[in-house]
Subunit: 382 residues, 2 copies
């Protein structure tokens, strides 16, 4: 048995008991049953100006068993909590998909006229996911802290030792491979390291290239990829590296609204899941590039691409890219002068660029010129 | 500089020179230039009955520079070969995406009337990928042997030590994390191991669960996931474990045509890229499940699911699933009696099942009952 996991189980089970045992007391006392849950609505979400992350405000909702409109959701919440509790005490490791299956069944009951009726606990995973989120905000436990696992695609290498489960892993001794980030990055213990910053690369292929050429060794960094839209574990790990070790975090994405959105997810969190961002977002993350001024230059800066290269490498933005950029403009954290310039330039030029186009100029150009120069001259957007 | 990579570079560069220097001689001698390339067409593809993998037959095509219909493709092939060669000698690590960018530019030439005309080397990555494949079959070098990297999503854990690049990695000491498989698995050296079989799991989330519960330790296996459709590196690594170490390989997928197709890719290879399968396919791979008889049982076997569980867990097949199953029926390796029964049962019941539904019965059910029982009783399909 894994000691770290065993302690996490105890803690999560205790919090679940603390939140739900009062219901049993109310039931015995003949009181009407209700759950009190922080609201996860947009109107109850705000950007904390100090921390720079999305957080939930104070509004709470009450869910009453004896309200016909709420009884089903009440039942679902209790069902989910009991499945999670059972998994915790039985040393199981469910995923959100199998939580759905674990709970999916048909309830029989008699209606007021005595007729037998049937109702499914839930039909779609959307329903079970929603009550899982309710339990996360109700307990203030991330699902990972309840030992709920998920598909992970993040990777990391660098001159650092970590403890994960019972093992010490040297992230500088993984050959051409990498450390596939675990589902529960809160349980990772950072031991010693020799690194001055974290470089997060959107694309796995570029991560492979920079790793293979020894970028992290030469420039003393921890190299991470989220392989596209980052999963929760990658975001949580990046946040911890920034917050606990004080390492600056630079994000390298394609030069397009999709890339900006990935940066935004690392920095601020997902707008629909704001309750997570208090733990998962890295408000100090810096957008290193590829920026529109890298492509086109500006008054103070020579572009990294020649006109010939721009002709060959630039991809014309589609209408959906334009629309996405206009959506991003509405977010307050994209309303700084630098971001305004970036997005305006995109809308004017209607031009996208992939990181791979920069590598098209040579991996050494990316690794030994572009990246170090951008970092050394402070050429990033916050 | 990585010694393993340096040797691979030398070897690949030598083979490229050997294949292409004759062209220079022909040019100097005033001979018309041509390339001879094995045909990658379906009609030149066959299932090798002995090896059980798709291979190319002997047909070759000639590509002539002085044939107006072939000149462009000839140019593209030479361009790609020269970019790869340059990357090899300059210690670069290109990806197929940046090979596309490295070569993308506009050629100017004068037509017969002396007018200046322009032509792009290539417009879409499809074109550069196609000539890369031509070079792979022409040189009999997989792209990875030419140090061309790619996005990778495969992972592995187990009681095994490997050498990758300059490092020795203990795959049993990765905590809750895993070894993210490197782009060039041919360069991995297997050191010692204590394992009796390889279990390949379609889904990363299930891999995480089995890893976390210690399945590989208890049942002495190497645990691998390709995270959906497996990439080349995962397939090559699985093949090497089977061929070089003689470890039986079991594949666990969802019970549906998509899962069967993943098994098929591991076993036989991709039908459109048959030239790869000689190196990437594992013809002895066994389909462990989830099988239709696991769900419904048969004369000799009790089903693993109760009727109530079937009602809750089964997903109704869509028309596209039916179509895909009918397509798979046409492949000769799905025409064995066991596969025929499997697919017929699917078409009759129109039922799909996810692995997660089995985990819905408890991860311990999957890990300590279903998997070991299936392996011990030989209940797989070949």
């Amino acid at each position: 048995m894994d000691k770290v996991d065993a302690e996490a189980r105890k803690r999560a089970a205790a919090i679940l008991r603390e939140k739900l045992i009062p219901l049993i007391k109310d039931l015995k006392a003949g009181e009407p049953l209700k759950l009190v849950i922080p609201k996860r609505t947009l109107s109850n979400t705000m950007l904390d100006p100090e921390k720079g992350i999305l957080i939930l405000k104070d509004e709470k909702l009450e869910r009453h068993l004896l309200d016909a409109g709420e009884a089903r959701r009440f039942m679902q919440t209790i069902l989910m909590a009991s499945i999670i509790y059972q998994a915790l005490v039985e040393n199981e490791y469910p995923t959100i998909r199998d939580l759905y299956y674990r709970g999916k069944h048909t309830l029989q009951y008699r209606d007021l006229e005595g007729k037998v009726r049937e109702e499914n606990t839930w039909d779609e995973q959307q329903e079970s996911d929603a009550v899982l989120r309710d339990i996360e905000v109700m307990t203030n436990l991330l699902r990972e802290e309840m030992l709920i696992l998920s598909k992970e695609k993040g990777k990391m290498v660098g001159d650092m030792r970590i403890r994960s489960g019972p093992d010490v892993i040297d992230l500088s001794k993984l050959g051409h491979g990498a450390y596939a980030i675990e589902s529960t990055p809160d349980f990772i213990e950072f031991l010693d390291y020799n690194a001055e910053f974290v470089l997060v690369v959107e694309k796995d292929a570029v991560f492979q290239q920079l790793h293979r050429i020894g970028f992290w060794r030469q420039y003393k960094c921890l190299l991470i990829t989220g392989a596209g839209q980052p999963d929760r574990a990658t975001r949580r790990l990046v946040r911890r590296l920034n917050e606990e070790l004080g390492l600056p975090v630079y994000v390298l994405t394609d030069s397009d609204p999709y890339g900006w959105n990935i940066y935004s997810v690392f920095k601020v969190g997902s707008i629909t899941l704001s309750y997570e961002s208090e733990r998962l977002a890295t408000p100090k993350a810096r957008f290193l590039g590829v920026s529109m001024t890298d492509i086109f230059g500006d008054k103070k800066k020579k572009p990294y691409l020649t006109e010939e290269e721009r002709k060959n490498f630039i991809i014309k933005a589609k209408d959906e890219d334009i629309k996405r950029a206009q959506d991003l403009q509405k977010y307050s954290w994209f309303q700084t002068p630098k971001w305004k310039k970036e997005i305006d330039l995109f809308l004017e030029k209607r031009a996208k660029l992939e990181i791979e186009a920069l590598v098209g100029k040579g991996l050494k150009f990316l690794a030994y010129k572009y990246l170090p120069e951008k970092i050394q001259t402070g050429d990033w957007i916050e």
